[in-house]
Amino acid sequence: MTGMLFKKECRQHGIWFILLAVTTPLLLRFVSAAVNASGGGGGVMAGLGTGFRVVLPIMIWILAFLLIAVEFRQKTQLFLEGLPLPRWRMIAVKCGLGIVLSIIYAAGSVLFCWITSGGTEAVTMQFLQIMLATAAAWSAFLCSFFIVAGFLGRYRLAVCFVIFIVMISLANRGVPMGEFPPFALLERFGLEREIWPKTDLVWTWAITAGLLGLSFTMGLTKEGSVAAMMGEKMSYREKITIGGALFLFMTFMGNFTSPAPEPFELPGAVAEEIDGVQLFLSPENVARAVDQDVAFASKLAAKVGGIRDWLAISDTHFPPIYIVERTDLEDGEVIGEDVDVEAGRVVLAFANYLDDSVSLDSVASKIMLEVLHVRSIDRIKKEDRWWIAMGLQQWLEFKNASSEELAEQEKRVGEIVSEHGFSPENVTDWKAFEELVGEDEVPAIAWTGVLKFVDEYGEEALQNLAQNTVARYAAGKDNRASIYDFFHPISKAFRKATGGDTVADFSEKWAANIEGSAQTK
């Protein structure tokens, strides 16, 4: 009877078995050639590994569909069940035939690739055995998996999709899928010549046996009625419901795929904490004594703490500050660098902080600007508030500047204005103005704006403005901050700080003031 079942399968699907037997090695050899043509291959056999990953599953899926799903979909299993043979034998013949054919396809592909490699693969007996064993195990696993999927009937695509999404999510969360069987079998396929992947082979065959057991369970439960029921076609309603559920599942899984955090530290850094401000300085020359760095850290932490309090920023949302010394930076330049961290954000900046020509105010104000960048997740650079942030930084830097420094700053402003002019529209179109003037020059213009603001409305108004604009905190990279800004626009905060004057009103005064200063000079 077993022989009859076998003959029945061959008669029913024989032409497709032969077609698969012919096309599988050819297609896999072609994939190997394509991979090697792109420059990424490690030779014919290594390229075959790629084929085993991406093309062989399709072939074996077709095979499993022919053997299992077709039978239930066309309900011909009812005829077979009418015959005097146990149901398990029918399933066993199908599974056995599927596994054997899968192994033949995979092993045949290995041999075909070896023969057509033109001798460019140094294939020893051991190497060949390893490849054949790996190919057999992998193809058997695929066959058993798709047989189970076949028994799932109309739910097979959904289940496969869920498994696929789970695997992607796990991979994104850092679970090394490639190190677990059966995927580990293909990691070094065609390259590992000496070490048998014994553990992976054993586990793969164990998983295959388990899947086959599951197939038998599904095929025999309630005299096969479960499988028969699942083999019926899905209605449209069912498809939509499952499709929607799958998408929701996918989105849900997507939320858990954020990358693992990184630990951040600057080994050997000078640490200082004053009034909730955590500051770390990393000297460039580790051999020198750190007395100066310690002293500077104290002063800087105190200064930054003062600005923080002025901006009414709470300790909770104030990031630790790491500054790496770079003696190649000139003119008080401070460069910030993005860092992703686990327990909150940090400020990482590079500065020549011990340069005598650079004032404490300069470093502190630039560091504070970096702090505002990090707290706002870069929203500080939005056009409506960027000029305020720039101007505030410059104002803090030049608050205690010498008359020479102030004169130089004013001279810079004069040069910019005489070359590019300044109009009220430049305030609302600040980014375009920055592009025109240059990002290194435009802060000087912003400084004049803040000076005029203080002159018009007082320092308290400036503090109020700063607290309600540039000191805004973004809790996370989602739309909450945008929605908050929509309902609390900068223009509103500006009017509140100035007691009624709009940005446009102030811009007129500002432009007139700059023009006036330019004419005076």
């Binding site: 490690g42 070490i195 939509i240 998408f247 990184e262 939005k382």
Partner: protein, 657 residues
Amino acid sequence: MTPAFRALIDKEWRGLRPIAVLIAVLFIFGLFYAQASDFLDQYTLWEDYFDNLETSTVMNFIFCAIISLGLLVREKDEGTLMYLDGLPVRRSSIYLAKWLVAVFLGGIIDVMFFVECFIYDAFSRESDMPGRQWHSYGVYLGLHIFQTMFFVSLMFCLSFLRRWAFLIIGALFWAVFWMKSSQVPFAEWLDPFSLVQVPEKEDERWIIPWGHLGFLGAVGLGFWLVGLFTFTVRFDSIRQARGSCLAKGAGVLAIFLIVIVWMGFMITSAVMQEDELIEEAAAAAEETYTEKFTPQLSGGNAIATESSEKFQFIFREKSRKQVQPLVDKSDATFATVADFLKVDQDARDGRIVVDLSNPLGDHNAGRAHWQKIRMVPPGPKQPVAKGVAVLGHEITHVLIDQITDNRLTEDFGSVRWFHEGLASYVEFRFFEKPEARADYEHWIALASTWDEIDFAEVVDNTEFTELHDSFLVYPIGRLWVKAAVNVYGDDAPTKLLTAFARPDAPRNLDGLARWRDVCLAADFDLERIRSRFRTRLKELRDTHAEVCEKYTEITEASAIRDDGKIVISPELPENWDEVVKNLPEKSKLMCRVRPETDSEPAQWRYAKLNKKNEFRLSGFDFLKPQIGVQIGWETGGWTEMPVLGEWITVTVEAEKQ
């Protein structure tokens, strides 16, 4: 539109309405999901939406497959086709109705996403952004809908194959991939996924790729017709059915033959054009036109093997004379590298295969894989020492993978520079003459003078290769490893590798985050090494400032199509004649050109400046409206490799009239 046809549209729409409802639900859900993942007042069309076009094209393909693959065959399988045959409508009308509804549904998805992003863009606009680019938006939507039509036609054509359609789709994908990798001319046009090529700048005119559209249009029409044929043919008898199958097969074969013949014609034209360019250059008594790389196939020679304790060499018999000395020195080379990297005795077991029998791609002296090295055999005049140096370089790669158990490949984009850098460091420290190091130092000095080196970019290979010469990672990596060794000693590389491979290392970090983690685990301060690296770079710039000054950086160019060729005119400085006079001997301005940002080196082309101050290349290799160009210098021996500046995107203007 006749009432009957309208009824068909209505029927199809009703049939696909559940999918439409599903798509609408998913879209609405996506709207809420967008709130949780980004600042929607800082989400611009150009920088955010168009940046993810690859993903959206793949999603478009998948949607088209879901909508279209079962649309025709389901009528036959469910028996409803018999009912439709009884109505006073032709099958071609039914087919057209299905196609139109599928295209509409597939196209509407793109439009919905576009409109969503357009709204976000409206909230995100700032004054430094150019005005609305309506022309570009129209072109983009048009191209996307064309892609949808193409995909639906393809699915309709293959749907009669049922599950075998996936096999054919897979085969088609790999065929196009192979052709593109093998530099087959016009292979670009076979790829529908690359149809949408966004201009680099927002205010640049989006040029419609008419050639590509025309070709895909013809192919898509072919698919559409085959689908129509398979759907409209009816079987009154088994004999007719058989005949119909034969006819279908003949039809497919005919299309296949037409494509093959056409490709053959194009390839011949391309080869003839290459010859023309060579003759042109020779006639102008200039240096030889730089041809595309032709792999040196040794074909036809018997394969030979030789073994040493650690290696098995495979090579062509005719290169035995060059390979034998390499075989003799291989074990000693291995020992040197393994000792430096402190590889355990256990890990030294096993043989490495060295395959010198097959060609490699452009600019590849060798490639390393797990326990396998592929190398170009040493040339007849090449000193053995050079071959040994390359072998030492590749052995380092193999041993890195052994020490880290292949962990570095998990995020190769962040570590490629280190892989190559460490291998280069070993190569130059143990196997190359001291003079050879100068070559790398000159290279990096000039590149650094042009601001091509920023560590934060180097650790992201995708970003780095998009903007700079990807081969720069060799000297950069070498210098960085040297800095690490200077700061932390000879053990530094091994400690870093061990830190990479530690069992509790986070597995999905990338870029600087990965390197901070690794350095901390190795008890190193990344900033100290970076500081040493920067200092050394500055020293090199200062040392070679005089020579570097002579090599002007050129970052602007224009291009036109001229008689089937591409002519690139670099924007030369006003004192160009002066520059040329002061150049060291045999220096020559040259360029490298790529069809797309992520093109493999196999698809790059090179050209040298001719007497008309132009670069000329075959137009068959660059069919898109925009190309990537790098301009740089062959330095006449001061560096072995050409030193190239940043990649610039150049729009190829239409032919001169």
